[in-house]
């Protein structure tokens, strides 16, 4: 039986940020995980809060009254920010995973081209789009909605 090499993940969760001196994608990797966990936590609670509509108007308005105003507006906006980032960065990750943004295999001729550099312009475009979406969302949250 061939020997299986084991990687002990010595740094654990700290390795998300301290795994090495990598490029900006390293920080996006960290943010993708943090926003993913945040969205999951919110989503599990959201299923229960939103289900109050099934019990009638009074229950719906009582549930909404408990999660409206003050810190909840800021929290809800943070969920929107997490969604904008996680969705657009996730789209980049899917395209990289499928090999669409990594470039074609080529001979290692100096100066070397890294697959990271091939996807980087798309990464920048996705982050600009996420920033625009966050600004537009912020305008809707804090100006138009009158919070």
């Amino acid at each position: 039986m061939p020997e299986v090499k084991k990687y002990p993940n010595r740094l654990g969760i700290k390795g998300w940020l301290l795994g090495g001196k990598w490029g900006p994608e390293r920080y996006l990797y960290f943010l993708h995980r943090v926003t993913g966990l945040g969205l999951l936590f919110y989503f599990l609670i959201h299923i229960f809060v939103v289900s109050s509509r099934s019990f009638g108007q009074e229950q719906w308005e009582t549930a909404m009254g408990r999660v409206t105003g003050g810190i909840f507006v800021v929290g809800e906006f943070l969920v929107f920010v997490a969604f904008a980032f996680h969705a657009l960065n996730g789209l980049r990750l899917v395209l990289v995973e499928l090999g669409i943004l990594t470039g074609k295999a080529e001979d290692p001729v100096f100066p070397y081209r890294s697959s990271l550099n091939v996807q980087r312009p798309f990464m920048i475009v996705m982050m600009i789009l996420a920033a625009i979406l966050i600004v537009v969302g912020g305008y809707d949250f804090f100006v138009l909605a009158g919070h």
């Binding site: 299923i47 229960f48 289900s51 509509r53 719906w60 789209l91 809707d140 909605a145």
Partner: protein, 130 residues
């Protein structure tokens, strides 16, 4: 990576793309209503949380199916992602099995509850006059 893991990972990515569309529509309805108002999504006025808007959306079959799909794909994508993060910490084999079972039961339970609430909300919306 086993063939089962490869399949689950592929579903994880596919679910992410589906969520992008469904959650994008949800955000458009609930949080970008002021910038990009779509009257068919909020026919009773600007506030998407207003009961009249909740009832109007609840009557639409497309909203019910969209909600059920979003709950299903969202739970799978989120809980499978959490499972991967936990597995990276190299838990013992028994703990891995326990994590998988707990997350599977949590996902199935929440999916059944979420799907039921969507159908119940439609039944309730159809019973409201107006």
């Amino acid at each position: 990576m086993s063939m089962k893991d490869t399949k689950l990972w592929t579903w994880h990515m596919a679910a992410g793309v589906i969520i992008l569309v469904l959650l994008g529509a949800h955000m458009l309805t609930m949080h970008l209503n002021g910038v990009l108002p779509i009257e068919s999504l909020n026919p009773a006025g600007d506030d998407p949380l207003d009961w009249a808007n909740v009832v109007a959306r609840g009557r639409e079959v497309s909203q019910v199916f969209g909600y059920i799909f979003l709950v299903g794909f969202g739970l799978f994508h989120g809980l499978y992602g959490l499972r991967n993060i936990l597995f990276e910490l190299n838990p013992a084999a028994g703990l891995k099995r326990l994590i998988s079972v707990v997350l599977l039961l949590l996902g199935l339970g929440l999916f059944v509850y979420g799907a039921w609430s969507a159908v119940a909300a439609r039944t309730m919306a159809l019973s409201v006059s107006g």
